[in-house]
Symmetry: C2
DNA sequence: TATATCTGCTTAAACGTTTAAGCAATAAAA
DNA sequence: TTTTATTGCTTAAACGTTTAAGCAGATATA
């Protein structure tokens, strides 16, 4: 009898609260506390399975929480705990398969530990990148995972992140000078693989449409290209080594420039797939046979490299692995309370995906 | 003299604080208040240019804030104000040009008003979509802009958003039943445009590889296709109308299925570019001339439609306009304190981009 | 029996803002 | 001169959590 009365009593209180809620605010821990006549602190502990709360109370709390459709206020707990459980991600753009795949893997890995990500795009602009950093810091992210814009030379803004004591992890486009964690592929070796592959196909004059020298990864690709040429005793001509923004447009322009040479190359290694596509368009338009007349290799293994005619040989950058490692590196930092900067440089081996644009023997 | 002493005094206090900060925490409004011997409330108001604070104080506050490298704590103000200034975005995936462009435009538009976005991907999975919604609600977003996964039929989770009183705006893949704001293109008319175009090219047996009928936009494309055929008194055969997941893989499968017909179609209208690409691959592999033997039209105007051979005719969905309108619609809601659901259905006219895959006359 | 330990809570402060209310001092109006 | 308004602040509470500290009562230990 007593139990029944008690249940009826609780039900009354509950329905009273439900009514109120329809008119008013969201359910808080306080509402649950009121319904059960216990303190908000007890409710908080019950929801977190604190050992000092009885099983009976825990069950009751969870039941009421469900009935009242309670949703914890993340802002409040984040404020109190000093952790937002938000991680900022900065990429040059999301509509490249590489970056979107990295992002997806970061998200999946962080999700396991209850972290969410805020994605921002720099559109290859340094100015936008700075604004993104401000935005992320403003949002109180617990860490930042970034790949730099093409334009970025000044590292002041990144120093700002470091000075705040927030973990910073760079991937793909990074900078050694910053002395932070980095995850990327071995660009130098990738260039070697490409040159080696082209040499095997019988190419003798290999040109390189490279990225901006000031970006480390592109610089490494250029160095790899030069050293590989030396290794195979091939001619290293200034005219065959061109710096580019690596857009499709610029790929077209630089290809046109190469075709204007008296002594044309018999192979082109382009440091980015989009630019490689531009180059291919020009070659196709001018009726130059690929790969017989000129072989072509791109970089990044974007899906379209397998869609165009001929399909383009490219380098697979292991985007998913890069994303996972970046997330894991962040989590390592997040777990330590001390912000001891134990540097984590992870360099993955890339993979050459051979396709029609460089397959001379079978052509 | 008095002024000078005062300056020296302030400087001392300042440096004392700076020292502390190096060892300890981030600067707060309280620190600034202590330096200037005013109340935290005055500092807050000064930073917000409250008219009841003297210009002198404002300047001093801003100067000290700068010196101490003050960064407002967004969590605290969000908690206090009950607004996170965060907007959640749910898309099936980001590595499609359409979605990434929509996202970029949402971001730009919201940024103007001080809102940030949290991007989540459903990967076309209903389960993931539900988790995304929970995540976003947990993060206390002020609104959600979403495009539904292919799988999504059950709308319960979306009702959850509505019941929280959080503005929900759908784009592209939406549902009329939910009765929320929607921004998209006129799918029905787009189908008409495509059929009309193909008829003009002389096609007489037009097949349609469509999306899932339960998704409204795909259903509209199917209805448009059927009605347009009727209008032009063309045969409407069951075998020529196929439902597909619209992946590249499935595009290949469905194309193969169509080619197995005794009476082959002379044109294929595919409701998605990726599937159209799969179809094109099969056609190319089988040596079927496109567009002479069979014409092909896709949907979405993904960049690769202009890259492949032959280039694929497609429908431009005005991604940037959709993104902008979605953001603006959210902002309208955000500005009203009352959550009066004045519905905003925006249907944009799409645009047919004619390319080689359907250009029979010039071929 | 007295003391220590454990259990299951409560109290109260804290996280960093914002803001309603209030209060002096000064300026303007009567 | 008194009243009213304006200026420039302060006080204190609030947002919804978490958590250190504490406190009864029950149970175990000496």
């Amino acid at each position: 009898m007593i139990i029944k009365t008690n249940a009826v009593y609780l039900l009354k209180r509950l329905s009273k609260y439900i009514k109120k809620l329809n008119i008013k605010k969201k359910t808080t821990i306080k509402d649950i506390a009121n319904v059960l006549n216990i303190s908000p602190a007890a409710v908080s502990k019950a929801l977190h399975n604190d050992s000092r709360i009885s099983e009976k109370t825990k069950k009751a709390v969870k039941q009421v929480a469900k009935n009242l459709n309670y949703q914890p206020n993340h802002l409040a707990s984040a404020l109190r705990k000093g952790k937002s459980h938000l991680v900022g991600v900065i990429v040059p753009r999301t509509n490249s398969n590489f970056f979107s795949s990295v992002i997806q893997n970061i998200e999946e890995e962080l999700d396991k530990e209850g972290y969410n990500i805020i994605i921002t795009q720099s559109n290859e602009s340094y100015k936008k990148e700075c604004r993104n950093i401000d935005t992320l810091l403003f949002t109180q992210v617990d860490g930042i995972i970034a790949s730099m814009a093409n334009e970025t030379i000044n590292l002041e803004y990144y120093e700002k992140i470091k000075s705040k004591g927030i973990p910073l992890i760079l991937f793909d486009r990074g900078e050694n000078d910053l002395n932070v964690d980095y995850i990327g592929i071995n660009d130098y070796d990738s260039s070697h693989m490409i040159v080696e592959h082209l040499v095997k196909q019988g190419c003798k004059r290999i040109a390189h449409i490279g990225g901006y020298k000031h970006t480390r990864i592109f610089n490494n690709r250029i160095r790899g290209y030069i050293d590989a040429l030396k290794k195979h005793q091939l001619p290293l001509e200034d005219a065959l080594l061109i710096e580019s923004s690596l857009t499709t447009e610029d790929g077209r322009a630089k290809m046109t420039q190469l075709l204007a040479l008296k002594n044309r190359p018999d192979a082109i290694y382009v440091a980015g797939d989009y630019a490689a596509l531009g180059a291919l368009q020009v070659l196709n338009e001018q009726g130059i046979k690929v790969p017989e007349d000129i072989a072509l290799v791109g970089f990044g293994n974007e899906p379209f490299t397998g869609m165009v005619t001929p399909t383009i040989t490219s380098i697979n950058q292991h985007s998913s692995e890069i994303g996972k490692q970046a997330a894991k590196t962040f989590l390592q930092h997040a777990k330590k309370t001390i912000v001891k900067q134990q540097l984590n440089k992870i360099i993955l081996d890339a993979e050459l995906i051979t396709r029609d644009s460089s397959n001379i023997k079978n052509a």
